[in-house]
């Protein structure tokens, strides 16, 4: 594309501008602040900027003295060499009014007013899709040729920038990314990166949360255990209470049993007593004799005595007829006594004599006489004793006989009187008793005796049963005892089966002891469980706060990690793109720039080699027969080689679309000789590209196909009363001096 005419309204210092541009080299010359850069901006806006753009820089591009409704307006007329060799023309008008911006592109018989479509068409025509692309490719800035020789990397960086499609190359972008990535990922302890800080915070907080959660879980388990131990303690206490209750019942049953037994005993005793008393009462009212027993006894004894007397008397009276008196025989004791005494004496003599002979040593007669004498003495003693006893018996018999004789001598009449008296007494006694005879009296005595004995027996029995208890109270006492037995039995029944269980108390005492032990253990368990709960100082709200902090840190870490991935992906993608494009660029350069290099070096260098990775350019030096880096060449040659490479890359990246190239005085630092050479290269390039050269110098006028002179600004600030500024000569110095032109946007 070649722009033939450029019109501008309300763009920076231009309220209105209308310039024609040559299809070849157009030099746009003017002092500083003449508006040269504005022309470059206008071309950029026309080719690449969307009219509806709301970018802030558009506001700054408005003319200072334009009305509030004024908006930058740019129009171009252009030519385009089509592939079929036809040269088409077109016009483009753009009004940059934000959302209300308008565009009208007329080309090849078609009119386009849609901003998006218009920009697409322009991109197709120029090969320039964006402003940054334009600035990195079709715009050659004035600093690009400076310090090429001094800085080995400058050539490479600037060439690389030209294929970046970026405004200032990829280096800056990569450096920015690398710096931020470094800041993110630094792992040093003294200056940790944000990722490390976040990871450490997450790890630390996570550990704290885990510890807290474990403590909470432990608290839950401890409370569960406390609850369980409390239940077990309650169960144990319940069981103990039950056992104690049963034990109490068992003891009570024992006591009741004992009391009942005592009552039963008392009952039986009183019952027996009542029976005995009743029997006694019956007996006392049924004596066989109306007289007391002692009376009956004495009467019967008297009757016996009288009866015996009567019998005696009657016997005596009946046996008195024959009385015989016998001469008593000689007592038998006398012969015995005599022989006894003789034997004793004889024995003594024999024994004594033998002994004396031995003692006196008259004669030893041996022991036999001694023994014989002893035996005889002994027999004699025996006979003596027997005689004594017989004598005694004999005396007694004599006494009896004397009595008998006496009796017989008293007389019969006495006996008869005694007999009559005795019979009278007997009759009286029997009459008193109301009996007929002694047998009856004996019988009465026996019966009365037995009766009284029975009564005595019963009285003794009663006494043994109830002691001195009044008889009238015995029934009541019996009934009371019976009632007590019933009450105790009822009470025992009320106690339930335990009352009937043998040895229940002993069993339950053992069980109560065991249960008490269980309760003790259960209480200890509960106390331990409670202690564990109370020892767990975890605070759920603190753990919650930690968990919330962890969530925040995790979110931050996630965001940082995502940011890291995005940055890393961007960096790696740029690097991949660099590698890919560098390879293409190097091959392209090697193929395309060799012609230009040969031309600008007068055929000296005809072979060019470009490194894939670094874009380092080498030429084959014929005198050395070897490759040499271009940085080792002269400054002038280096400039030209760079330019050929730079412009070759423009062809590459624009796909031979040949957009207009805008040079913002890149040769400003070159001396005249170098500048002339560079300009000659531009003339060659102008065969393919439109060159618009912005400069403050007129040294390029001769090489230009057209020169556009821009007047400098004329307005001065006369509101300052400073004599130093009163010299009119000062007004144009700073504006016209190229040495003080400054960096980009000098106009």
């Amino acid at each position: 594309m070649r722009i033939r005419r450029l019109q501008v309204r309300d763009l920076r210092r231009y309220r209105e501008l209308d310039i024609d541009l040559a299809p070849g080299v157009t030099v746009v010359r003017g002092p500083n602040e003449a508006g040269k850069t504005t022309i470059q901006r206008a071309i950029e806006l026309a080719i690449t900027r969307r009219v509806t753009s709301a970018a802030a820089d558009l506001e700054s591009l408005r003319s200072w003295d334009a009305g509030p409704e004024a908006r930058p307006w740019v129009a171009i007329e252009f030519e385009q060499d089509e592939e079929d060799g036809r040269r088409a023309t077109g016009t483009l008008e753009k009004t940059f009014a934000g959302a209300k911006g308008t565009v009208l592109l007329k080309y090849d018989g078609q009119a386009v007013s849609d901003p998006t479509l218009a920009d697409q068409v322009m991109a197709e025509l120029t090969g320039i899709p964006t402003e940054p692309f334009f600035r990195s490719t079709a715009s050659v800035r004035h600093h690009e040729l400076s310090d090429l020789a001094r800085d080995e990397t400058a050539l490479r960086d600037r060439l690389q920038a030209s294929i970046s499609g970026a405004d200032r190359g990829t280096g800056r972008a990569k450096k920015k990314l690398e710096r931020v990535l470094h800041d993110l990922t630094t792992k040093g302890d003294k200056n940790p990166g944000r990722l490390k800080v976040a990871q450490a915070a997450v790890a630390s907080t996570n550990a704290s949360v885990e510890k807290g959660e474990l403590a909470l879980a432990q608290l839950e388990r401890d409370r569960d255990a406390l609850s369980g131990s409390r239940d077990r303690r309650a169960d144990a206490e319940g069981a103990l209470g039950e056992r104690r209750s049963l034990l109490e019942k068992a003891r009570q049953a024992e006591r009741l049993e004992s009391e009942r037994a005592a009552a039963q005993t008392r009952y039986e005793r009183f019952r027996d007593a009542v029976q005995v008393a009743a029997e006694l009462d019956t007996l006392s009212q049924s004596h066989p004799s109306s007289h007391p027993l002692p009376v009956v006894r004495s009467a019967v004894e008297r009757l016996r005595m009288l009866d015996g007397r009567i019998r005696e008397l009657r016997a005596a009276l009946s046996g008195e007829v024959e009385v015989q008196f016998d001469v008593a025989p000689e007592p038998t004791w006398r012969p015995l006594s005599r022989w006894g005494i003789v034997l004793v004496g004889l024995g003594l003599v024999v024994a004594g004599g033998t002994f004396a002979a031995r003692i006196l040593a008259i004669a030893d007669l041996g022991s036999t006489p001694l023994y014989l004498g002893a035996v005889a003495a002994g027999i004699g003693l025996i006979l003596t004793f027997v005689a004594f006893w017989l004598r005694r018996n004999s005396h007694m018999q004599e006494q009896l006989r004397d009595v008998e004789i006496d009796r017989r001598l008293r007389g019969r009449s006495e006996m008869e009187a005694d007999l009559r008296q005795a019979e009278l007494d007997t009759t009286q006694q029997l009459g008193a008793l109301g009996l007929d005879d002694l047998a009856a009296a004996e019988d009465l005595l026996v019966r009365e005796g037995a009766h009284v004995a029975r009564m005595d027996q019963l009285a003794a029995q009663l006494d043994g049963l109830v002691g001195k208890e009044p008889r009238e109270t015995l029934s009541a006492l019996r009934d009371s005892a019976a009632l007590e037995v019933d009450q105790k039995s009822s009470a025992l029944d009320a106690l339930g089966p335990i009352a009937k269980e043998p040895r229940a108390r002993e069993r339950l005492e053992v069980e109560v002891r065991d249960a008490e032990g269980s309760v003790e253990r259960a209480r200890d368990d509960e106390a331990n469980a409670r202690a564990r709960v109370e020892a767990n100082a975890v605070d759920a709200e603190q753990v919650a706060a930690e968990a919330e902090r962890l969530a925040v840190w995790r979110e931050q870490l996630g965001a940082l990690q995502r940011r890291h991935r995005v940055l890393d992906t961007t960096l790696k993608a740029i690097e991949r793109a660099e590698v890919a494009t560098m390879k293409t660029a190097t091959r392209y350069l090697e193929g395309h720039m060799v012609r230009d290099v040969a031309a600008v070096t007068g055929g000296r260098y005809r072979r060019v080699r470009v490194d894939d990775k670094t874009l380092d350019i080498e030429v084959h030096a014929p005198e050395l027969g070897d490759w040499v880096p271009v940085s080792s060449l002269s400054q002038g040659t280096l400039d030209l080689v760079y330019l050929t490479a730079r412009l070759g890359l423009v062809r590459l990246v624009t796909g031979d679309r040949r957009p207009p190239l805008v040079f913002d005085d890149p040769f400003v630092t070159l001396d005249d000789t170098r500048a002339a050479r560079a300009l000659s290269l531009l003339k060659r390039v102008a065969a393919d590209f439109q060159i618009i050269y912005l400069t403050t110098s007129d040294r390029y006028d001769a090489a230009a196909d057209a020169v556009v002179e821009l007047p400098g600004p004329t307005a001065v600030d006369d509101g300052v009363d400073d004599p130093a500024l009163a010299d009119p000569a000062l007004a144009g110095v700073a504006l016209a001096d190229p040495a003080t032109a400054g960096v980009e946007g000098a106009a």
Binding site: G165, A547, V552, Y588
Partner: protein
Amino acid sequence: MLRIIHTADVHLGARHNDLGNQAATQRERQFAAFVAAIDLALGEKVDLFLVAGDLFDSNVQPRRSVERVAAQLKRLGEARIRTVIAPGTHDRYDRSSIFRAYDVKAMAGSTAEDDWVTVLTPDLPSIHLTACDVVVHASVFATKRAPHSPLRDLDAATDPTRATWHVGMVHGSIAIPGKTDRDEVVITTDEIAATHLDYLALGHWHSAQQGKAGDVTYAYAGAPEPVALDQDRAGKVLLVELDQAGGGGKTVSVVERQVGRTRFERTELDAASIATQPALIDLLVRQADPDLVLDARIVGVRPDELDLDVDEIEAALAPSFLKVRVRDVSMPALTEGTLPSPDTITGAFIRDLEARIAELEAVPGVVGGTDVDTAPNGEAAELRDALRLGRLLLAGHEVSL
């Protein structure tokens, strides 16, 4: 007439992972809402204060939380208002239950001889408050998942206890096929109707709502203070009035009363409509409210020149809200217009990334640029961000990294 304040799901001690440093503040607000409910009960001089489950967010809340609750319940007792609490699913009555660990009744100054405070348990499924002439029923389980419906075998019509009013409490979900199938405690409206209760106080759902099944009026009080987003009907308690007309007909009136302060709101903003970060801040600050938790999502396609630092935005808005959370789920657009030459680094860069993006977004379920839920988390979204970042950097734009 029997007047009741019905609340549930206070969730004291709840965690709020999405509120960051304001989580503790929200926990205090939850307690403040509970106090407000107590104050309302005292102001309205009701007869009964019902808590239908989940008073505590868990069974491991600290003692001081229980003491604070007990102090409030004591206020009710001193004003002669009876309280009945049913454990829920979070503070369920298992062996480690907070209600076993701490004797809330005693801590609230109530003794075994009075009925000022009652905690219903599996062993105490109902309480006859003779002074109020009401029986309060609640089937409480010792497990989180109920072995059967809590309304099974409950029929006030055949209950032998003589009382004018029969009120039930259940902490669970009303069955919604396909939605509540896995809930721990589920009841049906048929079961509700079969209870013949005068009123069924429900808990578990955090938004207030009412209904009627047969002759039984039921209601969820909702959480007195919202616990999370999407609980726009939370923040309330219910003032329930049970009355019996002269002819014996019973009426039930349920009125919602606001006690909570926090509001949760979600807003979506189209990235394309946002000019700059300051403009976004200005837009959001118009909703400034110290009681508002705002969840702002930036959706749609984000222009390249729009550079958003979510942390900066949240920090700028923090003083104006209880909590503001800005989530940028918008996606940068693919490169518009004509691409730079593939022989340029920019062109190669763009083509490389866009090819990978296209490959990823061709996978079913990954929708590039429009799926606001998956976009920010997917590899495709990251590649789009890398693409935008690269475009901006290569174009020389100043962009925050």
